[in-house]
Symmetry: C2
DNA sequence: TGATAATTTGACCGGTTGGTAAACATTACA
DNA sequence: TGTAATGTTTACCAACCGGTCAAATTATCA
């Protein structure tokens, strides 16, 4: 038989899982570095160590590869926000959210850049996710923050812009890594900048959101 | 004579200035929306209302167009930071820097996205600018901030990460505009989000940097 | 083992891309 | 006005792009 594309089979073979994994890993590498339009199937094939038609055996089109990648990464990416807990101590919650987002910027910069590329270029492939699941999740957490503010546990502030501020400051260290390194000077080898950033940001947000008389 | 490309002539004719202007305007439109690799000369030509070979008469290559654009925009882009004044009132200086950066995000989002695209994809074309002029300027302003902190005028903090935080939070409204709109819901027509952001960010940074006993 | 299905590859296709060559049109200026 | 320099266009090219196809190879399992 010729055409029963991998996706159509009910049971996924060992080979299918392995190869799709390898392809998506390579796709992440390439898409995150060049964006969708700037990436080519050949590049991904080379990184994956497979032939181009072989990739297209597992994913019919470049778009399909991109979509599969987005779907797989998006959930993980939103996990830190999901853990935001209404019952917790507000300051501790915000502090740990910042910390987790910074850790993700450090440990999964490619995932961050994948979304950054996508959103930056108008989010042509993830508009629905933004207006649907993402908005819903943010709305929910914004209410939590609002409640904290009303209860006097943190300063009154626009919860949406607070979330934007945390997103932007933390993801900055993944998305604009080259710039950060250039400005700091690359003398320092390790991940020191992440610890410095954590210290600074935790302080900024905690003090900035403190209730003051 | 056939080849004395526009660039080589000593005097720039009226036509040259007009056309180069139109081309760079179109290039800004296209490059900022799709990044370097994702943009095509044809797209730029169409936006500029000229033929492709005509563009290539004024800029020999796609790279040359991109470089000319970057060179032109970079200076303007760094102006707000340059205005940062050591003699001024620290809180007022920081507040007005945030305000100016937000205004630029609102009024010149394409310029912001141009750089974001470039840096995000590893800054292959502006590495020198980052490590040279940009770093130098930031170093200078970081010293100013450091001095303020030592003088007890603002809380002690890492000046570099403070600058990163201001950059990221403000540019976020240009670079991630689609996401911001999606999350806020596009009911609100105007630029209200910029005013809300200004209120939030000024408060965050001012309170966050206040000296506290 | 053998047959059947799953996987992989090389050759290829039409469309797009950055860029060129040369003819043609327009402008500047003596 | 005439002519040389400047500006514009049409036709074109080689390389690259996303994707197809049929043949070849490998894995699965009765």
């Amino acid at each position: 038989m010729v055409l029963p594309r991998a996706a159509k089979t009910q049971r996924r073979t060992r080979i299918q899982e392995e190869k799709e994994e390898r392809i998506l890993e390579a796709a992440l590498e390439v898409f995150s570095a060049s964006g969708f339009r700037g990436s080519t199937i050949d590049q991904i094939a080379e990184v994956a160590g497979m032939s181009k038609p072989n990739l297209l055996y597992y994913f019919r089109t470049k778009e399909a590869m991109h979509r599969a990648l987005i779907d797989r990464v998006l959930d993980t990416w939103l996990d830190p926000l999901r853990e935001f807990n209404a019952e917790g101590n507000p300051v501790a919650e915000i502090r740990s959210y910042i910390r987790r987002k910074l850790e993700m910027a450090r440990d999964f910069p490619r995932e961050s850049r994948l979304f950054a590329n996508e959103v930056l270029q108008g989010a042509p492939h993830i508009e629905d996710e933004l207006k649907g699941p993402l908005k819903q999740l943010v709305d929910e957490k914004a209410e939590v923050i609002q409640a904290w503010a009303k209860a006097g546990k943190i300063a009154k502030c626009d919860p949406y812009h607070l979330i934007f501020a945390i997103w932007s400051t933390t993801q900055h260290y993944a998305d604009f890594d080259v710039q950060v390194r250039a400005v700091l000077g690359q003398e320092q080898a390790g991940d020191g900048r992440f610890e410095d950033a954590a210290r600074f940001l935790e302080r900024l947000f905690v003090d900035g959101l403190q209730v003051r008389e």
